[in-house]
C-alpha cells in the first residue's frame, strides 16, 4: 500500500531558514502502527528518496502523541536565496506519497 493511502497528512515546511521539516500524520491508530512498524521510513530511506546525503537528515522522530513520523533535512540552500523555487519549503513532500508500505 502507498503511504498516501495510510496517512491523513503529509506535509513539508520550513523550520527556520536552514531546514525543511516533513510531517507524516496518520489519523487511524492502526495505520500509524503499520507505517511505524514497517520500518520503511528511516533516515537512510528518506535521504535516498530525496537524493541527499544522510547527514543532511538532522532529525528523525516517531512522535506518538500526534501519531506521526517527523524528519527534518538541512536545506541545500537557505530559504529565499537567489534561485529559490519554494520559499516556504511547502511543496517538497509530494514524493513521499508513493512510498510503498508492506
Amino acid at each position: 500500500m502507498k503511504l498516501v493511502e495510510l496517512a491523513s497528512t503529509i506535509r513539508s515546511k520550513n523550520a527556520g531558514v536552514d531546514h525543511i521539516t516533513f510531517d507524516i500524520i496518520c489519523r487511524e491508530r492502526h495505520n500509524f502502527e503499520r507505517v511505524r512498524d514497517s520500518g520503511v521510513l528511516n533516515r537512510a530511506s528518506v535521504a535516498r528518496l530525496f537524493g541527499i546525503e544522510e547527514a543532511r537528515v538532522t532529525d528523525f522522530v516517531v512522535f506518538e502523541p500526534a501519531q506521526a513520523i517527523k524528519f527534518t533535512i538541512r536545506r541545500l540552500r537557505p530559504s529565499g536565496c537567489k534561485g529559490e523555487t519554494d520559499m516556504f519549503g511547502s511543496q517538497q513532500y509530494a514524493p513521499l506519497f508513493d512510498v510503498e508500505i508492506p
Partner: protein, 470 residues
C-alpha cells in the same frame, strides 16, 4: 517595363533588415549588396507583433542605440551612393512621435558625419481619436476587420492612440517631389518597397508583390538567417529576389514559403488602394541565389480604404509566480483557483468589476488555453502565474496577492499537505508593464491617401554647414 527603357539596368531595391533596430542589422551582407549598385534602400521599422502596449503608450520597444545604428549604416550608404532611403513604420509603431524621433536621429547622424545637404520627407499618419469620433458623428463607418464589430463611440473612448496604415502613394509622391530620405509613419510593409518601384515606372502588381517578398529581408531565403540583406528588382514583367549573404539562396520554396509568412492567406495582400492577387504566381530558380516570380495581379479597389490600428490602456498589471507539486492540489487545481477567486471577489466583487484575474496554468494549458486539444489532467508539476489587471494599482496589487496567496490556503477536501498547497517562488508581487488592448483593427473610407496622411519636407543641411565652418 516600358519598351523604351528596356536596355537600362533594372531598378534595384535593397532591403537590409526585416525590422529595423529590433536587433542590429548585419553589416557584412549589406555592404556587399551596396557594391551591386542598388537604386534605393528601404526598410520596415515596425510591427504589430509586440502587442498593443508600444502603440497605446506611444513608446518604442527597440533600443535607441540600435535604431541609431541601423539608420546610420543605411543613411551613410544611401548618401554615398546618391540613392533614396525609405524607412516605414518609424520607431516600431509609426506614430508621430516615432517619425519625429527618427527625423531627429537622421539629423544627428548627418551632422556627426557632416553629410552634404539632402532633402528629407517626414510622412505622418497618426489619427487623432477625436478625428475618428467626428467621422462617427458624420455617420461614417469604421468597419471591423477579422470579424470585429464596427467601431462605436465606446471603443473609441477606450482608445489612447491610433495610426492609419498608408500604402505606397504618399511615399511615391514624396520621391516625385525630390525627397532623398523618407521617414514614414505606419505603412503597409510592402508599400515601403513598392514606392520607389512605382516611382521608377513599374506597375502596382509587381511593385507591391516584390515588396511583400522583401519586407522581412532574408526571411525569404534559405538557410534561415535573421537579418541579412536581400536585393529585388523587376524585369520583363517578372520580379526577382536575390540573397546577398554568401551562404544564403533565394529558392522557389524559400520565397513561396515567405510569401505566406505571418499572413492569414498566401494569395492576397491588401493595401489601401487595392489588393495584390498572387493566386497564379509561378516561382522559378534563375541562378544559384536568385528566384523569379511572375503572375502577380493587382486588383484596384473601387473605394480607397485605409486600415486603422488603435490601442488603449486597460489597467495596471501585477504578477505572482506559484509552483505546485502536490498531486492532489494539481488534480483539484480548478477548485483551488475557484477558492482563491472567491477570496478576491469577497473583497472587490466579481471579476470584471474593478479588476480582472488571469490564471496561467503552465503544465496543463498555460500556453494554448482553451485551444489546447489535450490538457493534461495530472501533470507532475504546475506553475501558476497569477496576473491581475486593474485601473487602480492598489486593487491590482491586492487582487494579485489575494489571488496567489490564497492558493496557498485553499481548503480542498482530501488534501494531505496542510502547510501550504503551493510553493511560492518568492513571496513577491511583481509589477508588470501596464496592460493595453488592441481596440482598433478596422478600416475607414477616405477620399485618397491625403485624407489622413500629412507630409512635411525638410532640407537637412546642418552637417554640411558645420563641415564648411570647420
Amino acid at each position: 517595363m516600358k519598351g523604351g527603357r528596356r536596355a537600362m539596368k533594372p531598378f534595384r531595391v535593397l532591403c537590409p533588415t526585416g525590422h529595423l533596430s529590433f536587433t542590429p542589422l548585419e553589416k557584412g551582407s549589406f555592404l556587399l549588396a551596396c557594391g551591386y549598385g542598388p537604386d534605393a534602400i528601404a526598410a520596415d521599422a515596425g510591427s504589430c507583433d509586440m502587442g498593443p502596449r508600444p502603440l497605446g503608450a506611444d513608446e518604442h520597444v527597440s533600443l535607441e542605440a540600435w535604431q541609431r545604428h541601423d539608420l546610420e549604416v543605411m543613411l551613410l550608404q544611401s548618401r554615398r551612393l546618391g540613392i533614396p532611403m525609405i524607412v516605414g513604420s518609424a520607431s516600431d509603431t509609426g506614430t508621430d512621435r516615432g517619425v519625429d524621433q527618427f527625423v531627429a536621429l537622421v539629423r544627428d547622424i548627418a551632422k556627426e558625419h557632416r553629410l552634404p545637404p539632402f532633402r528629407l520627407a517626414a510622412i505622418y499618419s497618426e489619427v487623432p481619436v477625436e478625428e475618428l469620433k467626428r467621422r462617427l458623428l458624420r455617420r461614417e463607418r469604421i468597419e471591423g476587420l477579422c470579424g470585429r464589430p464596427d467601431a462605436g463611440l465606446s471603443i473609441l473612448e477606450r482608445t489612447d492612440r491610433a495610426v492609419a496604415v498608408m500604402d505606397a502613394e504618399p511615399m511615391r509622391q514624396a520621391l516625385a517631389a525630390g525627397a532623398d530620405v523618407i521617414i514614414a509613419g505606419r505603412s503597409s510593409d510592402c508599400a515601403i518597397f513598392a514606392a520607389p518601384l512605382l516611382h521608377a515606372g513599374h506597375d502596382p502588381a509587381n511593385s507591391y508583390f516584390l515588396g511583400k517578398l522583401m519586407e522581412c529581408a532574408s526571411f525569404c531565403a534559405e538557410p534561415y538567417m535573421a537579418k541579412e540583406s536581400v536585393m529585388g528588382w523587376i524585369d520583363e514583367g517578372a520580379v526577382y529576389v536575390r540573397a546577398m549573404h554568401p551562404d544564403q539562396r533565394c529558392t522557389p520554396l524559400s520565397v513561396a514559403s515567405h510569401a505566406m509568412y505571418e499572413r492569414p492567406n498566401p494569395y492576397f495582400e491588401h493595401v489601401a488602394g487595392g489588393c495584390v492577387d498572387m493566386t497564379d504566381c509561378v516561382y522559378e530558380q534563375v541562378d544559384d541565389k536568385t528566384t523569379r516570380v511572375r503572375g502577380a495581379r493587382f486588383v484596384t479597389s473601387p473605394t480607397y480604404r485605409m486600415k486603422i490600428e488603435g490601442a488603449g490602456f486597460v489597467g495596471h498589471r501585477r504578477i505572482a509566480i506559484v509552483g505546485i507539486r502536490d498531486p492532489d492540489t494539481i488534480r483539484l487545481i480548478d477548485q483551488a483557483v475557484a477558492w482563491a477567486r472567491d477570496k478576491v471577489a469577497e473583497r472587490f466583487g466579481p471579476d470584471g468589476n474593478s479588476y480582472r484575474l488571469h490564471y496561467h496554468l503552465y503544465g496543463r494549458d498555460g500556453i494554448m488555453g482553451p485551444m489546447e486539444p489535450r490538457p493534461v489532467a495530472a501533470p507532475q508539476e504546475l506553475c501558476v502565474v497569477v496576473e491581475s489587471v486593474s485601473r487602480d494599482p492598489q486593487v491590482a496589487f491586492e487582487a494579485c496577492a489575494l489571488g496567489s496567496r490564497n492558493l496557498f490556503y485553499a481548503r480542498l477536501p482530501a488534501l494531505k499537505g496542510t502547510a501550504g498547497a503551493a510553493a511560492m517562488m518568492s513571496d513577491e508581487i511583481l509589477i508588470g508593464e501596464p496592460g493595453y488592448e488592441w481596440t482598433l483593427n478596422h478600416v475607414v473610407m477616405v477620399s485618397g491617401p491625403g485624407d489622413l496622411v500629412r507630409t512635411r519636407h525638410h532640407r537637412i543641411a546642418d552637417g554640411a554647414a558645420w563641415g564648411i565652418a570647420r
